[in-house]
Amino acid sequence: MSRSLLSIEELGVDGVQRVLELADTMAEVNRRPNPKVPALRGRTVCNVFFEDSTRTRLSFETAAKRLSADTMTFAVSQSSLNKGESFRDSIETIAAMGVDAFVIRHASAGAPWLVEDWTTASVVNAGDGWHAHPTQALLDVYTVRVALNRTAGFDGLRVAVVGDIKHSRVARSTTTAFKALGADVIWVAPTTLLPPVVGETATDRLDDVIGDGVDVLYMLRMQNERMTEALVPNLREYTARFGLTPKRAACLAPSTIVMHPGPVNRGVEIAIDLGELPGSVVKQQVTNGISVRMAVLYDLLSANPNSTSDIEINDDVAAAPKEHP
Protein backbone atom coordinates (compact mmCIF):
# COMPACT_ATOMS: atom_id res chain seq x y z
CA MET A 1 0.00 0.00 0.00
CA SER A 2 1.37 3.29 -1.04
CA ARG A 3 1.51 6.29 1.25
CA SER A 4 0.05 8.57 -1.41
CA LEU A 5 -2.79 8.69 -3.93
CA LEU A 6 -1.43 10.27 -7.07
CA SER A 7 -3.23 8.49 -9.91
CA ILE A 8 -5.74 5.70 -10.48
CA GLU A 9 -3.04 3.76 -12.35
CA GLU A 10 -0.83 3.72 -9.24
CA LEU A 11 -3.75 2.88 -6.95
CA GLY A 12 -4.55 -0.20 -9.03
CA VAL A 13 -7.73 -2.24 -9.30
CA ASP A 14 -7.39 -3.70 -5.79
CA GLY A 15 -6.84 -0.24 -4.37
CA VAL A 16 -9.91 1.10 -6.16
CA GLN A 17 -12.04 -1.73 -4.75
CA ARG A 18 -10.59 -1.16 -1.28
CA VAL A 19 -11.46 2.54 -1.36
CA LEU A 20 -14.99 1.83 -2.67
CA GLU A 21 -15.65 -0.62 0.16
CA LEU A 22 -14.30 1.83 2.73
CA ALA A 23 -16.53 4.51 1.21
CA ASP A 24 -19.57 2.37 2.08
CA THR A 25 -18.50 2.52 5.74
CA MET A 26 -17.93 6.28 5.48
CA ALA A 27 -21.31 6.80 3.79
CA GLU A 28 -22.95 5.13 6.80
CA VAL A 29 -21.11 7.59 9.08
CA ASN A 30 -22.40 10.47 6.94
CA ARG A 31 -26.00 9.27 7.30
CA ARG A 32 -25.86 9.60 11.10
CA PRO A 33 -27.19 12.64 12.97
CA ASN A 34 -23.62 13.35 14.13
CA PRO A 35 -21.49 12.43 11.10
CA LYS A 36 -18.12 12.32 12.81
CA VAL A 37 -15.75 9.57 13.92
CA PRO A 38 -12.51 9.84 15.92
CA ALA A 39 -10.46 7.72 13.49
CA LEU A 40 -7.82 10.32 12.52
CA ARG A 41 -7.57 12.26 15.77
CA GLY A 42 -4.24 14.03 16.03
CA ARG A 43 -3.54 13.90 12.29
CA THR A 44 -3.20 17.06 10.25
CA VAL A 45 -4.28 17.45 6.64
CA CYS A 46 -3.10 20.49 4.67
CA ASN A 47 -4.98 21.65 1.57
CA VAL A 48 -2.64 23.31 -0.92
CA PHE A 49 -4.62 24.66 -3.85
CA PHE A 50 -2.78 26.51 -6.59
CA GLU A 51 -5.89 26.54 -8.78
CA ASP A 52 -9.40 27.71 -8.04
CA SER A 53 -11.73 25.16 -6.56
CA THR A 54 -14.80 25.24 -4.39
CA ARG A 55 -16.16 21.75 -4.25
CA THR A 56 -12.94 19.77 -4.16
CA ARG A 57 -11.33 21.88 -1.44
CA LEU A 58 -14.47 22.00 0.71
CA SER A 59 -15.06 18.31 0.12
CA PHE A 60 -11.56 17.38 1.33
CA GLU A 61 -11.86 19.75 4.28
CA THR A 62 -15.21 18.27 5.29
CA ALA A 63 -13.89 14.73 4.84
CA ALA A 64 -10.86 15.40 7.06
CA LYS A 65 -13.01 17.03 9.74
CA ARG A 66 -15.51 14.17 9.78
CA LEU A 67 -12.57 11.87 10.53
CA SER A 68 -11.51 14.24 13.36
CA ALA A 69 -8.29 15.25 11.61
CA ASP A 70 -7.12 18.86 11.89
CA THR A 71 -7.09 20.83 8.67
CA MET A 72 -5.00 23.69 7.38
CA THR A 73 -5.54 25.57 4.16
CA PHE A 74 -2.64 27.05 2.28
CA ALA A 75 -4.16 30.01 0.46
CA VAL A 76 -1.80 30.68 -2.38
CA SER A 77 -3.01 34.24 -2.93
CA GLN A 78 -2.06 35.21 0.64
CA SER A 79 1.16 33.23 0.85
CA SER A 80 4.86 33.99 0.78
CA LEU A 81 4.87 32.65 -2.77
CA ASN A 82 4.02 36.26 -3.57
CA LYS A 83 7.32 37.27 -1.92
CA GLY A 84 9.19 34.89 -4.19
CA GLU A 85 9.33 31.77 -1.99
CA SER A 86 9.63 28.70 -4.17
CA PHE A 87 7.01 25.95 -4.35
CA ARG A 88 9.47 23.51 -2.77
CA ASP A 89 10.37 25.85 0.11
CA SER A 90 6.69 26.45 0.80
CA ILE A 91 5.95 22.73 0.95
CA GLU A 92 8.97 21.99 3.12
CA THR A 93 8.04 24.81 5.49
CA ILE A 94 4.53 23.48 5.93
CA ALA A 95 5.86 19.92 6.29
CA ALA A 96 8.13 21.10 9.11
CA MET A 97 5.03 22.15 11.03
CA GLY A 98 4.03 18.49 11.21
CA VAL A 99 1.62 17.66 8.43
CA ASP A 100 0.47 14.08 7.85
CA ALA A 101 -1.10 14.63 4.45
CA PHE A 102 -0.94 17.19 1.68
CA VAL A 103 -3.90 17.60 -0.65
CA ILE A 104 -2.44 19.23 -3.74
CA ARG A 105 -4.05 20.95 -6.68
CA HIS A 106 -1.68 22.49 -9.18
CA ALA A 107 -1.85 23.73 -12.75
CA SER A 108 1.25 21.74 -13.70
CA ALA A 109 0.96 18.05 -14.43
CA GLY A 110 3.20 16.04 -12.11
CA ALA A 111 3.37 18.57 -9.26
CA PRO A 112 2.02 16.08 -6.66
CA TRP A 113 4.80 13.62 -7.52
CA LEU A 114 7.38 16.33 -6.76
CA VAL A 115 5.71 17.06 -3.43
CA GLU A 116 5.85 13.37 -2.56
CA ASP A 117 9.61 13.42 -3.13
CA TRP A 118 10.03 16.45 -0.88
CA THR A 119 8.15 15.13 2.17
CA THR A 120 7.46 11.98 4.14
CA ALA A 121 3.78 12.93 4.43
CA SER A 122 1.03 11.33 2.37
CA VAL A 123 0.14 13.23 -0.77
CA VAL A 124 -3.27 13.27 -2.42
CA ASN A 125 -3.52 14.55 -5.96
CA ALA A 126 -6.57 16.82 -6.11
CA GLY A 127 -5.99 17.64 -9.77
CA ASP A 128 -2.74 18.36 -11.63
CA GLY A 129 -3.02 20.27 -14.90
CA TRP A 130 -4.61 18.26 -17.69
CA HIS A 131 -3.26 15.07 -16.20
CA ALA A 132 -5.16 13.37 -13.38
CA HIS A 133 -7.85 13.85 -10.74
CA PRO A 134 -8.06 10.48 -9.00
CA THR A 135 -10.51 11.32 -6.20
CA GLN A 136 -13.00 12.63 -8.78
CA ALA A 137 -12.66 9.33 -10.65
CA LEU A 138 -13.21 7.39 -7.42
CA LEU A 139 -16.32 9.34 -6.51
CA ASP A 140 -17.62 8.85 -10.06
CA VAL A 141 -17.28 5.07 -9.97
CA TYR A 142 -18.60 5.01 -6.39
CA THR A 143 -21.68 6.97 -7.50
CA VAL A 144 -22.35 4.49 -10.31
CA ARG A 145 -21.73 1.57 -7.98
CA VAL A 146 -24.37 2.89 -5.58
CA ALA A 147 -26.85 4.20 -8.18
CA LEU A 148 -26.85 1.00 -10.23
CA ASN A 149 -26.12 -1.33 -7.30
CA ARG A 150 -23.03 -2.75 -9.05
CA THR A 151 -20.84 -3.81 -6.12
CA ALA A 152 -19.20 -6.68 -7.99
CA GLY A 153 -17.80 -4.54 -10.82
CA PHE A 154 -18.82 -2.88 -14.06
CA ASP A 155 -18.57 -5.72 -16.57
CA GLY A 156 -20.58 -4.80 -19.67
CA LEU A 157 -21.42 -1.29 -18.44
CA ARG A 158 -21.47 1.18 -21.36
CA VAL A 159 -20.02 4.59 -20.45
CA ALA A 160 -19.85 7.58 -22.80
CA VAL A 161 -17.59 10.49 -21.79
CA VAL A 162 -18.69 13.55 -23.75
CA GLY A 163 -16.95 16.87 -24.29
CA ASP A 164 -13.59 18.53 -23.89
CA ILE A 165 -11.45 15.47 -23.33
CA LYS A 166 -8.23 17.14 -24.40
CA HIS A 167 -8.08 19.51 -21.44
CA SER A 168 -9.80 17.22 -18.96
CA ARG A 169 -7.92 15.48 -16.17
CA VAL A 170 -11.32 14.22 -15.04
CA ALA A 171 -11.87 12.42 -18.35
CA ARG A 172 -8.50 10.68 -18.14
CA SER A 173 -8.80 9.55 -14.52
CA THR A 174 -12.43 8.57 -14.65
CA THR A 175 -11.95 6.60 -17.88
CA THR A 176 -9.14 4.66 -16.25
CA ALA A 177 -11.24 3.94 -13.16
CA PHE A 178 -14.31 2.82 -15.14
CA LYS A 179 -12.17 0.55 -17.33
CA ALA A 180 -10.34 -0.87 -14.32
CA LEU A 181 -13.71 -2.06 -13.00
CA GLY A 182 -14.62 -3.64 -16.34
CA ALA A 183 -16.74 -0.97 -18.07
CA ASP A 184 -16.55 -0.15 -21.79
CA VAL A 185 -15.78 3.54 -22.28
CA ILE A 186 -16.31 5.56 -25.44
CA TRP A 187 -15.10 9.15 -25.86
CA VAL A 188 -17.44 11.53 -27.67
CA ALA A 189 -15.85 14.81 -28.78
CA PRO A 190 -14.98 16.94 -31.78
CA THR A 191 -11.54 15.87 -33.01
CA THR A 192 -10.13 19.25 -31.97
CA LEU A 193 -10.99 18.43 -28.35
CA LEU A 194 -9.39 14.98 -28.32
CA PRO A 195 -5.83 14.52 -27.07
CA PRO A 196 -3.14 13.89 -29.73
CA VAL A 197 -2.94 10.22 -28.80
CA VAL A 198 -6.25 8.44 -28.24
CA GLY A 199 -6.17 4.99 -26.71
CA GLU A 200 -9.96 4.76 -26.38
CA THR A 201 -12.75 4.28 -28.85
CA ALA A 202 -13.70 7.78 -29.98
CA THR A 203 -16.47 9.28 -32.08
CA ASP A 204 -17.94 12.70 -32.82
CA ARG A 205 -21.53 11.49 -33.17
CA LEU A 206 -23.32 11.82 -29.83
CA ASP A 207 -26.74 10.96 -31.28
CA ASP A 208 -25.44 7.60 -32.55
CA VAL A 209 -24.00 6.78 -29.13
CA ILE A 210 -27.30 7.62 -27.43
CA GLY A 211 -29.20 5.69 -30.10
CA ASP A 212 -27.05 2.59 -29.54
CA GLY A 213 -27.87 2.74 -25.84
CA VAL A 214 -25.62 3.86 -23.03
CA ASP A 215 -25.75 3.22 -19.27
CA VAL A 216 -23.73 6.21 -18.10
CA LEU A 217 -23.59 9.55 -19.92
CA TYR A 218 -20.70 11.55 -18.49
CA MET A 219 -20.85 15.20 -19.59
CA LEU A 220 -17.60 17.16 -19.21
CA ARG A 221 -17.34 20.86 -18.54
CA MET A 222 -16.25 23.12 -21.38
CA GLN A 223 -13.05 24.51 -19.86
CA ASN A 224 -13.05 28.04 -21.14
CA GLU A 225 -10.16 28.93 -18.83
CA ARG A 226 -7.92 26.39 -20.56
CA MET A 227 -8.91 27.33 -24.12
CA THR A 228 -6.06 29.19 -25.74
CA GLU A 229 -7.12 28.62 -29.31
CA ALA A 230 -10.38 28.36 -31.22
CA LEU A 231 -11.12 24.65 -30.96
CA VAL A 232 -14.86 24.88 -31.48
CA PRO A 233 -16.55 27.40 -33.79
CA ASN A 234 -18.76 28.72 -31.02
CA LEU A 235 -20.48 27.42 -27.94
CA ARG A 236 -23.93 27.30 -29.55
CA GLU A 237 -22.70 24.97 -32.23
CA TYR A 238 -20.96 22.89 -29.57
CA THR A 239 -24.23 22.62 -27.64
CA ALA A 240 -26.11 21.66 -30.80
CA ARG A 241 -23.74 18.77 -31.54
CA PHE A 242 -22.40 17.70 -28.12
CA GLY A 243 -24.68 19.19 -25.50
CA LEU A 244 -27.37 17.41 -23.52
CA THR A 245 -30.38 19.19 -25.01
CA PRO A 246 -34.02 18.49 -24.11
CA LYS A 247 -34.34 16.58 -27.40
CA ARG A 248 -31.39 14.29 -26.60
CA ALA A 249 -32.54 13.86 -22.99
CA ALA A 250 -35.86 12.55 -24.34
CA CYS A 251 -33.97 9.87 -26.31
CA LEU A 252 -32.14 8.53 -23.25
CA ALA A 253 -33.29 5.22 -21.82
CA PRO A 254 -34.95 5.72 -18.41
CA SER A 255 -32.18 3.69 -16.79
CA THR A 256 -29.37 5.88 -18.17
CA ILE A 257 -27.65 7.95 -15.52
CA VAL A 258 -26.21 11.37 -16.32
CA MET A 259 -23.07 12.61 -14.57
CA HIS A 260 -21.08 15.84 -14.56
CA PRO A 261 -17.99 16.69 -12.50
CA GLY A 262 -19.17 20.27 -11.93
CA PRO A 263 -19.30 23.16 -12.09
CA VAL A 264 -21.89 23.02 -14.88
CA ASN A 265 -21.81 25.60 -17.64
CA ARG A 266 -25.56 25.96 -17.85
CA GLY A 267 -26.79 26.09 -21.41
CA VAL A 268 -23.51 24.77 -22.84
CA GLU A 269 -22.80 21.10 -22.15
CA ILE A 270 -26.10 20.62 -20.31
CA ALA A 271 -28.94 22.66 -21.80
CA ILE A 272 -31.66 21.25 -19.59
CA ASP A 273 -32.61 21.69 -15.96
CA LEU A 274 -30.86 18.87 -14.11
CA GLY A 275 -33.77 18.74 -11.68
CA GLU A 276 -36.01 17.63 -14.55
CA LEU A 277 -33.63 14.89 -15.60
CA PRO A 278 -34.62 11.74 -13.71
CA GLY A 279 -31.28 10.06 -14.42
CA SER A 280 -29.14 12.88 -13.07
CA VAL A 281 -26.81 11.86 -10.23
CA VAL A 282 -24.86 15.13 -10.20
CA LYS A 283 -25.91 15.93 -6.63
CA GLN A 284 -25.09 12.41 -5.48
CA GLN A 285 -21.62 12.85 -6.97
CA VAL A 286 -21.04 15.80 -4.65
CA THR A 287 -22.44 14.01 -1.60
CA ASN A 288 -20.52 10.82 -2.35
CA GLY A 289 -17.36 12.88 -2.83
CA ILE A 290 -17.17 13.38 0.92
CA SER A 291 -17.49 9.66 1.70
CA VAL A 292 -14.93 8.75 -0.96
CA ARG A 293 -12.42 11.38 0.22
CA MET A 294 -12.90 10.16 3.81
CA ALA A 295 -12.11 6.67 2.53
CA VAL A 296 -8.99 7.91 0.74
CA LEU A 297 -7.69 9.87 3.74
CA TYR A 298 -8.41 6.97 6.09
CA ASP A 299 -6.82 4.45 3.72
CA LEU A 300 -3.61 6.49 3.47
CA LEU A 301 -3.29 7.82 7.02
CA SER A 302 -4.34 4.72 8.92
CA ALA A 303 -1.54 2.87 7.13
CA ASN A 304 1.09 5.60 7.41
CA PRO A 305 2.06 5.60 11.09
CA ASN A 306 3.36 8.71 12.75
CA SER A 307 6.83 7.51 13.62
CA THR A 308 6.48 7.34 17.41
CA SER A 309 4.53 4.09 17.39
CA ASP A 310 6.48 1.67 19.52
CA ILE A 311 3.55 0.67 21.66
CA GLU A 312 2.96 -2.95 22.62
CA ILE A 313 -0.34 -4.02 21.11
CA ASN A 314 -2.10 -6.94 22.69
CA ASP A 315 -4.74 -7.18 20.11
CA ASP A 316 -8.13 -8.79 20.04
CA VAL A 317 -9.06 -8.68 16.40
CA ALA A 318 -7.46 -10.73 13.70
CA ALA A 319 -4.03 -9.17 13.69
CA ALA A 320 -1.11 -9.52 11.41
CA PRO A 321 1.34 -12.18 12.62
CA LYS A 322 3.50 -10.64 15.26
CA GLU A 323 6.34 -12.01 17.28
CA HIS A 324 5.78 -12.09 21.00
CA PRO A 325 8.58 -12.39 23.55
Binding site: L22, R32, I311, D315, D316, P321
Partner: protein, 180 residues
Amino acid sequence: MKRVQRGSHGKDNMSEKRVLEPDDVRRAVTRMAHEIIERNQGLDGVVLIGVQSGGVWLASALGAEIARIDSAIPVGSIDASLYRDDIGLRPVHPAAVSDIDFDVDGATIVLIDDVLFTGRTVRAALDALGEYGRPKAVQLAVLVDRGHRELPIRPDFIGKNLPTSGDESVSVTADGVVIS
Protein backbone atom coordinates in the same frame (compact mmCIF):
# COMPACT_ATOMS: atom_id res chain seq x y z
CA MET B 1 -16.71 -17.26 9.49
CA LYS B 2 -13.37 -18.25 10.91
CA ARG B 3 -11.67 -15.69 13.00
CA VAL B 4 -8.27 -16.15 14.45
CA GLN B 5 -7.39 -14.37 17.62
CA ARG B 6 -3.89 -13.07 17.52
CA GLY B 7 -1.39 -14.07 14.91
CA SER B 8 -0.36 -17.64 14.44
CA HIS B 9 3.29 -16.41 14.54
CA GLY B 10 4.19 -18.91 11.85
CA LYS B 11 3.99 -21.79 14.34
CA ASP B 12 1.88 -23.79 11.93
CA ASN B 13 2.56 -27.18 13.42
CA MET B 14 1.74 -26.04 16.92
CA SER B 15 -0.85 -28.28 18.53
CA GLU B 16 -4.47 -27.31 18.11
CA LYS B 17 -6.73 -27.94 21.07
CA ARG B 18 -10.48 -28.14 20.50
CA VAL B 19 -12.06 -26.89 23.71
CA LEU B 20 -15.71 -26.65 22.65
CA GLU B 21 -17.59 -28.94 20.26
CA PRO B 22 -20.48 -27.70 18.10
CA ASP B 23 -22.96 -29.11 20.64
CA ASP B 24 -21.21 -27.22 23.44
CA VAL B 25 -21.52 -23.98 21.48
CA ARG B 26 -25.21 -24.63 20.85
CA ARG B 27 -25.88 -25.36 24.53
CA ALA B 28 -23.94 -22.25 25.60
CA VAL B 29 -25.99 -20.11 23.20
CA THR B 30 -29.23 -21.57 24.58
CA ARG B 31 -28.16 -20.92 28.16
CA MET B 32 -27.06 -17.36 27.38
CA ALA B 33 -30.39 -16.68 25.65
CA HIS B 34 -32.23 -17.77 28.81
CA GLU B 35 -29.92 -15.67 30.97
CA ILE B 36 -30.52 -12.56 28.84
CA ILE B 37 -34.29 -12.97 29.21
CA GLU B 38 -34.00 -13.70 32.94
CA ARG B 39 -31.67 -10.79 33.72
CA ASN B 40 -33.94 -8.31 31.93
CA GLN B 41 -37.16 -9.81 33.33
CA GLY B 42 -38.44 -10.32 29.83
CA LEU B 43 -37.53 -8.71 26.56
CA ASP B 44 -39.08 -5.26 26.93
CA GLY B 45 -36.78 -2.84 25.08
CA VAL B 46 -34.03 -5.43 24.67
CA VAL B 47 -32.04 -5.42 21.40
CA LEU B 48 -29.00 -7.41 20.30
CA ILE B 49 -26.00 -5.84 18.53
CA GLY B 50 -23.13 -7.99 17.28
CA VAL B 51 -19.65 -6.52 16.99
CA GLN B 52 -18.14 -6.86 13.50
CA SER B 53 -16.99 -9.23 12.49
CA GLY B 54 -16.88 -12.16 14.96
CA GLY B 55 -19.89 -11.12 17.01
CA VAL B 56 -22.32 -11.01 14.11
CA TRP B 57 -23.02 -14.71 13.71
CA LEU B 58 -23.32 -15.05 17.48
CA ALA B 59 -25.83 -12.18 17.64
CA SER B 60 -27.99 -13.81 14.99
CA ALA B 61 -27.70 -17.22 16.73
CA LEU B 62 -28.72 -15.65 20.05
CA GLY B 63 -31.51 -13.73 18.29
CA ALA B 64 -32.87 -16.92 16.76
CA GLU B 65 -32.68 -18.75 20.09
CA ILE B 66 -34.42 -15.90 21.96
CA ALA B 67 -37.16 -15.82 19.28
CA ARG B 68 -37.64 -19.59 19.74
CA ILE B 69 -37.85 -19.35 23.54
CA ASP B 70 -39.89 -16.16 23.80
CA SER B 71 -40.35 -13.57 21.03
CA ALA B 72 -38.33 -11.98 18.24
CA ILE B 73 -36.28 -8.86 19.09
CA PRO B 74 -34.25 -6.51 16.85
CA VAL B 75 -30.75 -7.71 15.92
CA GLY B 76 -28.13 -5.37 14.46
CA SER B 77 -24.40 -5.16 13.96
CA ILE B 78 -21.78 -2.51 14.58
CA ASP B 79 -18.33 -1.97 13.14
CA ALA B 80 -16.07 -0.25 15.65
CA SER B 81 -12.95 0.05 13.49
CA LEU B 82 -13.09 3.84 13.21
CA TYR B 83 -13.18 4.10 17.02
CA ARG B 84 -10.18 1.88 17.74
CA ASP B 85 -7.18 3.23 19.63
CA ASP B 86 -4.61 1.45 17.47
CA ILE B 87 -5.30 3.11 14.10
CA GLY B 88 -1.93 3.93 12.59
CA LEU B 89 -0.17 1.38 14.79
CA ARG B 90 -1.28 -1.47 12.54
CA PRO B 91 -3.70 -1.86 9.64
CA VAL B 92 -7.29 -1.40 10.80
CA HIS B 93 -9.85 -2.22 8.12
CA PRO B 94 -13.60 -1.93 8.67
CA ALA B 95 -15.12 -5.38 8.16
CA ALA B 96 -18.60 -4.35 7.07
CA VAL B 97 -21.02 -1.47 7.28
CA SER B 98 -22.77 -1.05 10.63
CA ASP B 99 -26.41 -2.06 10.44
CA ILE B 100 -28.62 -0.60 13.18
CA ASP B 101 -32.05 0.09 11.71
CA PHE B 102 -33.86 0.49 15.02
CA ASP B 103 -33.95 3.21 17.65
CA VAL B 104 -31.37 2.71 20.40
CA ASP B 105 -32.55 5.62 22.56
CA GLY B 106 -33.81 4.06 25.77
CA ALA B 107 -33.15 0.51 24.61
CA THR B 108 -31.33 -2.12 26.62
CA ILE B 109 -28.56 -3.18 24.29
CA VAL B 110 -26.88 -6.54 24.62
CA LEU B 111 -23.53 -6.06 22.89
CA ILE B 112 -22.25 -9.37 21.55
CA ASP B 113 -18.77 -10.54 20.59
CA ASP B 114 -17.29 -13.97 20.14
CA VAL B 115 -14.15 -13.57 22.26
CA LEU B 116 -13.37 -11.10 25.03
CA PHE B 117 -9.64 -10.51 25.33
CA THR B 118 -8.09 -7.08 26.04
CA GLY B 119 -11.45 -5.30 26.06
CA ARG B 120 -10.29 -2.70 23.54
CA THR B 121 -12.76 -3.74 20.85
CA VAL B 122 -15.61 -3.48 23.37
CA ARG B 123 -14.39 -0.02 24.41
CA ALA B 124 -14.41 1.06 20.75
CA ALA B 125 -17.85 -0.49 20.21
CA LEU B 126 -19.27 1.39 23.23
CA ASP B 127 -18.00 4.67 21.76
CA ALA B 128 -19.47 3.79 18.37
CA LEU B 129 -22.85 2.90 19.94
CA GLY B 130 -23.04 6.34 21.52
CA GLU B 131 -23.36 7.85 18.03
CA TYR B 132 -26.70 6.13 17.52
CA GLY B 133 -28.37 7.39 20.67
CA ARG B 134 -28.48 7.00 24.42
CA PRO B 135 -29.36 3.48 25.42
CA LYS B 136 -30.91 2.82 28.83
CA ALA B 137 -28.23 0.23 29.51
CA VAL B 138 -25.59 -1.77 27.69
CA GLN B 139 -24.83 -5.35 28.67
CA LEU B 140 -22.03 -7.49 27.27
CA ALA B 141 -22.34 -11.08 26.09
CA VAL B 142 -19.35 -13.12 24.89
CA LEU B 143 -19.00 -16.75 23.94
CA VAL B 144 -15.45 -17.01 25.26
CA ASP B 145 -13.77 -14.93 27.95
CA ARG B 146 -10.08 -15.64 27.57
CA GLY B 147 -8.78 -13.15 30.18
CA HIS B 148 -5.86 -10.68 29.79
CA ARG B 149 -8.03 -7.59 30.11
CA GLU B 150 -6.31 -4.24 29.58
CA LEU B 151 -9.37 -2.10 30.36
CA PRO B 152 -11.96 -2.23 33.16
CA ILE B 153 -14.53 -4.17 31.16
CA ARG B 154 -16.54 -7.11 32.49
CA PRO B 155 -18.97 -9.33 30.58
CA ASP B 156 -22.53 -9.89 31.82
CA PHE B 157 -23.12 -13.14 29.94
CA ILE B 158 -20.33 -15.65 29.30
CA GLY B 159 -20.46 -18.85 27.26
CA LYS B 160 -17.21 -20.20 28.59
CA ASN B 161 -14.30 -18.94 30.67
CA LEU B 162 -11.17 -20.08 28.93
CA PRO B 163 -7.78 -19.55 30.58
CA THR B 164 -5.23 -18.87 27.83
CA SER B 165 -1.76 -17.50 27.57
CA GLY B 166 -1.39 -14.15 25.85
CA ASP B 167 0.26 -15.55 22.75
CA GLU B 168 -2.21 -18.33 22.02
CA SER B 169 -4.84 -17.77 19.38
CA VAL B 170 -8.51 -18.61 19.90
CA SER B 171 -10.77 -19.29 16.96
CA VAL B 172 -14.52 -19.32 17.49
CA THR B 173 -17.21 -20.48 15.09
CA ALA B 174 -20.56 -22.20 15.40
CA ASP B 175 -18.54 -25.38 14.82
CA GLY B 176 -16.66 -24.99 18.07
CA VAL B 177 -13.77 -23.26 19.76
CA VAL B 178 -10.15 -24.07 19.01
CA ILE B 179 -7.04 -22.86 20.83
CA SER B 180 -3.76 -22.98 18.95
